[in-house]
Symmetry: D2
């Protein structure tokens, strides 16, 4: 069985976030999972690069209509023309997601994934608080821990 | 100019949340705005009922394929067949949104709306924290304040 | 029970098509049905104008992100940001559709509607041929006949 | 540059159509293109099988929410949860499409692809007639001719 791990985060990010995302990408590829992301720059590009470096496969679900908006590390680049609604496809197509940093787009992907009962692992990302709701983002402190936790939660 | 105010919140809710949503619906209708929502039960139904009581128009953007899943207070009920991706349409079609309570679906709508630069007013809803991001949910303490703030932020 | 009749056709059209679309809009409104369309110019605008002249309600499902791209006769204008994928919403939200003239976008709406088992009435539109498939576009020769046939097929 | 060729056709098909689809899949893979399809049975499964036999890569854009609805020959299986609206993604993500047989879903994909100015090659599929419209489906008489024509039209 091949698992699909989503990596979500901003199109703009800091250098430490970039390194973390690259390491997350490598860890995903090393475990034989497919990396799925929004296909653009920042966190998405760094994770894609890491996964390709480790011989993995990367699928980019693009918001626009042109393949050229994808980053250069995608194995499969899919323009959807759906705009921000493509975030729902990333959440739907991933078995679990790792959120790194991120802005409002990432927040929407976290919400969509949790709505669909997909595990979401957080690395220095949104803090959410809403009394009475169980579950939510599971924090991790390293790329390796995040990916291991994602795979553990998928298979249980 | 007619404004469209989105009301987002859970399909299940508490009795105080229901009363608040109904009042929000009434306030929207009294100001001549169109209420747009996910069209189902809970917060969505209460807000729809309030708006209709005050003579307003209510548009429900439904996730499924059948009009019958809509609540009985919709002026226009639109089955989309898109599942949770319909949340992006609610965010896109509203000029501003009022979030009341809510779970992960509501969280995704908040994220999508903020990503699209739409004002989001919160009534006892998610607390979000992410260093370095400006904007976010604007808190209000009553239905009237929420709707007035929404209309104020649209027109400025 | 309120029915929703879709009117589909090109954003550019001939003058006779425009008059036909306007008359279709009037017929829909006279029968108390809601007109749903893509919200833009050409056939969509003419049908919208006709429906409003007869006191009807018109819902426009727009492909872009801005309400301003809608024609001036929409009662409810909904920007979706989905591009051409919004055609699937028009097919899903209508109980039956009337196709007038039209290009490839209209063709896609015809296909989507027939896939969803919605009746499609044609006024001088695509001729389709595919051996072994039953159903398909039902031809009509006037606006009145088209709308009456649409309502008849919905309720049977 | 890697090209993406869409293969569209019914989830149910005849045995000769199945053989043709399998051969189309093989031809796509032999030329180093990625095959993109709706991911299900019939024509989609046959084309996927052919492409995998020839060592190619196959992407399935699924309508539902579960990866398990995909056929067993997909390299990448993407549940979207969008229902028939996923047809717009297939059209958007392909550089050219080959239509084999097919029903109303295929018709909608043909319309969407032509709307987006993508070349569509037909193998024993819909006959369309609409005066004054240029372009449309380009007929081919063999799998090899269809794929060669698709690649020729992309690059010109």
């Amino acid at each position: 069985m091949t698992w699909y791990i989503g990596v979500i985060g901003g199109a703009e990010c800091t250098e430490p976030e970039r390194e973390l995302a690259e390491e997350v990408g490598r860890e995903i590829a090393r475990r034989g999972a497919i990396l799925i992301c929004g296909g653009r720059g920042g966190i998405m590009e760094a994770a894609s690069r890491g996964a390709r470096q480790a011989g993995g496969m990367v699928v980019g679900i693009l918001p626009g209509r042109h393949r050229g908006e994808g980053n250069p590390y995608l194995t499969v680049a899919l323009p959807t023309g759906l705009g921000d609604a493509r975030n729902a496809i990333i959440a739907c197509a991933a078995d679990a997601l790792v959120a790194i940093g991120g802005g409002y787009g990432t927040l929407s992907e976290i919400g969509l994934a949790l709505k669909m009962n997909k595990p979401v692992i957080g690395l220095d990302t949104w803090k959410l608080e809403r009394p009475g709701l169980s579950g939510g983002i599971r924090p991790a402190t390293s790329a390796r821990e995040a990916v291991e936790l994602a795979l553990l939660l998928i298979s249980t």
